[in-house]
Amino acid sequence: MAPCTGFDTDQIKDKARKDLLYLLEGVRGKKILVIERELGDSLRLFVKYSTLLEYGVTKTFFLENGDADVSQQNVVFIARGECAKHAQSIADHIKRMQRETQTGHEFSIFWVPRRTLVSEKILEDAGVLGDTSVAEFPLYFMPLEKDLLSLGLEDSFADLYLRKDPTPIFIMARALMLIQQKHGLFPRVTGKGDNGKKLADLLARMRQELTAGEDSTESTKLGLTPSNNMESLIVIDREVDFATPLLTQLTYEGLIDEVVGISNNRAMVDTSIVGAATQAPVGTSRGSVSSASTQEKKRQIELDSSDKLYPQLRDTNFAIVGPLLNKVARRLKDNYDQFSNRQTNQTVAEMRGFVDNYPSYQAEQKSLKVHTGLAEEIMKHTRTDQFTSLLEIQQNLAAGADPASQHDPIEELIAREAPLTEVLRVLCLESCISGGIKPRELATFKRNILQAYGYQHILTLDALEKLQLLLSRTSPMATMIPISSTVATTATKTNYTYLRKALRLIVDEVNEQDPNDIAYVYSGYAPLSIRLVQCILQKQYLTSITRGGGANSGAAGTGGASQGWRGFEEVIKHVRGQTFDEVQKGEDKAVKARALLTGSGEKKTVFVVFLGGITFTEIAALRFIAKKEEARKQIIICTTSIVSGPRIMDVAIEKGTLGKNTAPAV
């Protein structure tokens, strides 16, 4: 094992690419690729379409469309093994293809990230297993950014909280296990939430099993000793803080996600907003994959760190995106002016300097145009009455205003048929923050919603109740953990009222221009989930702002080594779910061996895992912390998927309508 300093997500990217290409190489000759839509979209994160062509892929189809043709003898399926649905549709595909052509096809299936008994059973029952060659494509984490890894399980929120299906936890555990095997154990596993606890238990179990299954050779032993360059693993279960994603995200990236939606670093935006794609398409176009009809009007925009401006903009509060863009525009203009004004008396060297930089100016110009358009579009959205009214309600609720005072505006929203997503979002927010809604009022709201948006939403409301997002105050599940924890109660919900003070969730004097606290991402509300991370990583800072008062005590100092929850034990008792803090030890000898091999890196890596999804604003907040701690730590964010308020609501909202399907979309 080569000594590796620090953790680099590029390794994951490289491995994913190599794995895929190796598998493709194994299928001789030209082949068509039939891929699950979700995966197909994320493939581009680590492999270029042109590379696939080099490896003999002539055409790509989406599994869901069921329209793959039979032009090549070799057919390669790529799908998630965990999902029985895909296995069935692969079986259907194979049967159809076999029917359509007489020539024997060679079918290969690459299961992501592993082959499963169930999927294979389905293929077997369908009678096609014998005709396929099956391989595993161990794609766990998808590198979205240098500091951001996602499992890309879009359904993970629904799986975990609505259907109580633990698959995402298992996959996360496997993914983390792979990291541990390569880089050593996380010396400390700290976290909050029931699912988080499950993850930690699973990790411990997997470690044990690995030791049991492992032979006693030296080479593998090293993988299971605590790492030297990783500091800890912090696990946050989405469940501990449902309120945060329900609030409207106010960073640039967050708002793009809310308004147009981002998937795998890419947003589909109307060409009328950002202009048509000029000559070279941005990023890699996936040719036959994207359906032609939408391509005319929509344009894909890559939103990642390869863009010139986006990295500076993405995590800022939207309020200052405009001024920032202005500044850039002015700077660019100056550059041009400088050049054109002094044209007469320029030295060759100066000219050359400009010409050398020209492509970069041009790229910047292009990106400026895109982002100005995008920002304007979002601005249009944020200026509407509805948006302001929603934001006001949300902010009031977050700040602890009497929920009853917000009911009139909510009712008005319903009466005006504001989007159901938004209405439910504020109601759920109220339920989460204030421990349920009063039964009578809840009943009224429910009735109003059913009457306004259709009775099919009986199912929606039921789903929300199952998610424990929308509860009556009388429901035992809704009760918050009381402040005086002496009395044994069954109350389980995060007590925002207590935490608002204890962790200073509301910061009034927030400076959006030059942020001094993570609260800037929600213009005054500091996401609880991230505050919890701070409890571990920035103890001194947090203590200073919660007890000392002034948020501007600035330069956040931290205790050297991570000490788990120390100092905040009392506080986190008021957060839903189990708390855990485990130290993973290894044999002394092995630890020393590792220390010798890798050297003790100055900068340690902290993994922050969000089970059930993370929002872009939380990512921004974590990056803000990472920036403060830059000298000592590197923060890697791992998540099952990216979530947002609309996506959470989408899980619950029933899509079908009663009666004939003639109803316009609500």
Binding site: K164, P166, E412, A415, K446, Q451, G659
Partner: protein, 824 residues
């Protein structure tokens, strides 16, 4: 001691040596000529099967029973496998010593452990109709030739996928062979077929004629490195060409009228042709050497030589390794040979020893290295010792010498000598050992149940020992005669604290042997929950299996168990099993949601989860094609929850749903427009917009829509219908439950500032005067705004308004006039 060069034979400018490995190999009664003999590479086991096409003497009914006999190279019977499956068309080995048996009907058996345990699969692809004619094997797979000249390739034995290769032309196949995938350009297996005068090369994609005219060939053989092909024609000529058929290397005329029994490569340099009892070694440039035997000789090609097997002896024929050649060659003056001589002198206590050392002083390091290597290639223990002694002596003279190679070689030689011992009978050469790897050697020993030796070697070479223990224990539970408790105690005490022990495997062996209780007990020692599950399932310990699956956290495993249980148990007991396990229930629920709502209904019914049950009906109602069936489904939902008091709210909602549907149906038939599918609000909205105000009113009162909301809907509907007069009428109402601001805002944004302005004064109670001014301004009525400003004595605003209106205009003057009053 005899000179090691005694059994050397010159072939061209190279020497070949024949090493006698074992004597008295087979019983003299065994008529080797009537047997098919195939051996596994790396000195592995030899399989014998009586060639049914040949006559053989009758030895009573007992002996005539068909069998496959597995022998070690030393002739020790490892296992006799009785064979009743019919005629064997292919008998071969994989490189990990699996015996592969292919019958005429395309059934393939893979005996994976030398002890008769096997897996079986079928070739398919027409093998059954046409029948298998012959098979050729390589390291990880084989190719079968059918009687219709079709070729089927199997490239691995775990999850085999028999694949049809391209179709070669019709015609008699005189002989054929294959090039393993590892050595071909295409990385798939290539088959060489001798048909008429030429050779066809067939791979997955196509079959290509190599356009030769010297055939037909009775034998084709490919060299171990896949680079050369030896061809033997009917006329007794042998050719060596490159495997791409571009270059012909040599041609040899054996001048024999009799067709040889076998043609094989000896390493990559020479071809061995075997007749009944005569063996020729043909080297480059037509050089040849001959060996004669007493009986029929069988050839077993290995990577670096050929094993020759007769009833009496097992010989190994190989090119003399270069280092050995350097040390022993007659008349050589290499430094290594001088070093070897020095040791002899030393033993004779002759001072010449030192002279020798001084002589080779400058090249002593190489001499030592050569001696070490030569020791490795030596089969004779005396000469091994002698060479190592020489190396050790040379080493002692040197100031600095890295002894790693020396130490390693000593270790390897110990191992090699141990396994070459006739009771073990694995005559590995050094090169074969390196290729085979120590791990695989240990595996082979395990398969021979030489546990002690395997364990010693593993510890000696610092290799993992878990496999040995597990295999030993599995064997123990299979054949151990002690009672179960003793066996369990014995195994656990032996294996406790050892890493990587799979108790699951041992337990499975116990279970397969019918020792269920022992299996359960052993399984308790297995730390990996997931591993236990399949066995528990086959042991019918269903609930434990489910618990273990849940414990493992692997949802796939849980689901697998659940599917199994669902199929096996009656529904009621299935539900009872999952009821107490929330994770299991959740998984069943989420999977059934999409596929099997009937199951879900039963589940909820049994669980008394009325509301969930009702929701299924509602979900189903959404998918109904016509209103009537939708209503039916809703009725079912209502029925389900009707007698539960806590659910009265839900019940009412469902009733409303049905009643709305009925209303809408009525509306659909009464009016020209379609209403079904809309929500209540949308329905009311549409009614108002289309001018059916009274119907709308009735509907909203029927459904008790709150006043505020009704107003809102009416407002929005009227604005969107642009029914300004109705709105104007409304303005005459005294009070509005939603205030008047919405009226103003909506009407204004609908583009009717005039009407909007009517509502401005009505808003006065609700908002600040400042806002009233703004509202007027928005309507473009500056004068009114100014009036308001004057009322609240806001001079600034008046000035601003005047400026905005323009000084000279009518409006401006009017404002001027109003403002004048204020200034006074």
């Amino acid at each position: 001691m005899a000179n090691p060069t005694a059994d050397w034979e010159q072939v061209g400018d190279k020497f070949y040596r024949k090493i006698q490995l074992y004597t008295a190999v087979f019983d003299q009664d065994l008529e080797l000529e009537n047997y098919i003999v195939t051996g596994c590479s790396y000195g592995g086991a030899v399989a014998l099967h009586r060639d049914e096409s040949k006559l053989h003497s009758f030895r009573g009914t007992q002996a005539s029973k068909s069998s496959i006999d597995l022998y070690s190279c030393a002739g020790k019977l490892i296992r006799r496998i009785n064979w009743e499956k019919g005629s064997i068309k292919g008998l071969g080995w994989s490189e990990d010593e699996k015996l592969i048996v292919i019958t005429a009907d395309g059934t393939v058996r893979c005996y994976y452990d030398l002890q008769g345990e096997f897996t079986q699969f079928s070739l398919g692809n027409g093998a059954e109709e046409y029948g298998v004619k012959e098979c050729r094997f390589y390291g990880t797979g084989f190719v079968a030739l059918l009687t219709n000249n079709h070729l089927i390739s199997v490239s691995r034995y775990e999850e085999p996928r028999p694949k049809l290769l391209a179709t070669p032309p019709e015609g008699d196949v005189y002989s054929w062979t294959l090039i393993p995938p590892a050595y071909t350009l295409s990385r798939s297996v290539e088959v060489l077929l001798s048909i008429s005068n030429t050779i066809y090369v067939v791979d997955e994609i196509d079959s290509e004629d190599r356009l030769l005219d010297i055939g037909p060939f009775t034998h084709i053989s490919v060299s171990p490195n896949g680079k050369f092909v030896a061809l033997y024609t009917e006329s007794g000529k042998a050719y060596v060409i490159t495997s791409d058929f571009q270059t012909r290397y040599s041609e040899h005329d054996s001048r024999s009228k009799i067709s040889p029994k076998d043609v094989q490569w000896c390493g990559n340099d020479a071809v061995v042709i075997a007749w009944e009892d005569e063996v020729h070694v043909i080297g480059p440039k037509n050089a040849a050497a001959r060996y004669f035997y007493d009986g029929r000789v069988h050839l077993i090609a290995d990577h670096d030589g050929v094993r020759l097997i007769t009833n009496d002896v097992c010989d190994f024929l190989q090119k003399v390794p270069e280092v050995t050649d350097e040390v022993f060659r007659f008349g050589t003056e290499s430094s290594a040979s001088i070093l070897l001589d020095a040791v002899e002198q030393l033993e004779n206590q002759s001072p010449k020893a030192d002279d020798n050392i001084q002589l080779i002083r400058p090249s002593l390091v190489e001499a030592v290295d050569t001696c070490v290597k030569a020791a490795g290639h030596e089969f004779n223990i005396h000469w091994q010792k002698q060479l190592l002694k020489a190396a050790s002596f040379g080493k002692s003279v040197l100031d600095i010498y890295n002894s790693d190679d020396f130490v390693d070689m000593c270790e390897v030689l110990r191992v090699l000598n141990a396994v070459r011992f006739y009771e073990i009978g694995i005559p590995l050469s050094y090169e074969q050992f390196i290729r085979l790897t120590p791990e695989n050697l240990v595996r082979r020993l395990i398969n021979r149940r030489e546990y002690l030796l395997a364990l010693r070697i593993s510890t000696y070479l610092r290799l993992p020992t878990d496999r040995i223990y597990v295999h030993w224990a599995s064997q123990k539970v299979r054949v151990g005669t002690e009672d179960e408790d003793t066996i369990c105690r014995l195994i656990v005490s032996k294996l406790e604290g050892k890493r990587g022990i799979s108790f699951e495997e041992i337990a499975r062996a116990a279970y397969d042997e019918g020792r269920g209780r022992l299996a359960t007990e052993l399984l308790n020692h297995e730390p990996r929950a997931g591993k236990q599950v399949p066995l528990l399932l086959s042991m019918e310990e269903d609930e434990i299996a489910l618990d273990k699956a849940i414990e493992s956290g692997d949802s796939d495993l849980i689901f697998f168990v659940l599917l199994h249980l669902k199929k096996k148990l009656p529904l009621a007991s299935f539900f009872r099993v999952i009821n107490t396990r929330p994770t299991a229930t959740a998984l069943i629920e989420s999977s059934a949601q999409n596929e099997d709502s009937e199951l879900l209904k039963d589940l909820y019914y049994q669980d008394d989860r009325r509301l969930d049950g009702a929701n299924i009906f509602i979900r189903e109602s959404l998918r109904q094609p016509d209103p009537q069936s939708t209503l039916d489904k809703l009725a079912l939902a209502t029925k389900l929850i009707s007698d539960t008091k806590e659910l009265s709210f839900q019940q009412k909602n469902i009733q409303e749903t049905s009643s709305l549907l009925k209303h809408q149906e009525l509306l659909d038939s009464d009016l020209t427009e379609s209403f079904t599918g809309l929500s209540l609000h949308q329905t009311i909205f549409k009614l108002i917009k289309s001018g059916y105000a009274s119907r709308a009113k009735k509907l909203s009162s029927d459904f008790k829509v709150p006043d505020k909301i009704t107003w809102w809907i009416r407002l929005r509907a009227q604005v969107s219908a642009r029914s300004w007069s109705d709105l104007e009428d409304l303005s005459k109402t005294r009070k509005s439950p939603i205030g008047w601001q919405p009226f103003f805002a909506l009407i204004l944004s609908a583009g009717n500032p005039k009407l909007a302005s009517i509502f401005v004064p009505k808003c006065a109670g609700e908002v600040e005067p400042q806002q009233i001014i703004e509202m007027y301004e928005k309507c473009g009525m500056r004068v009114k705004a100014a009036e308001e400003a004057v009322r609240i004595k806001d001079v600034e605003t008046v000035d601003r308004l005047r400026a905005a209106a323009g000084v000279g205009t009518v409006e401006g003057m009017e404002i001027e006039r109003l403002g004048a009053g204020l200034r006074r």
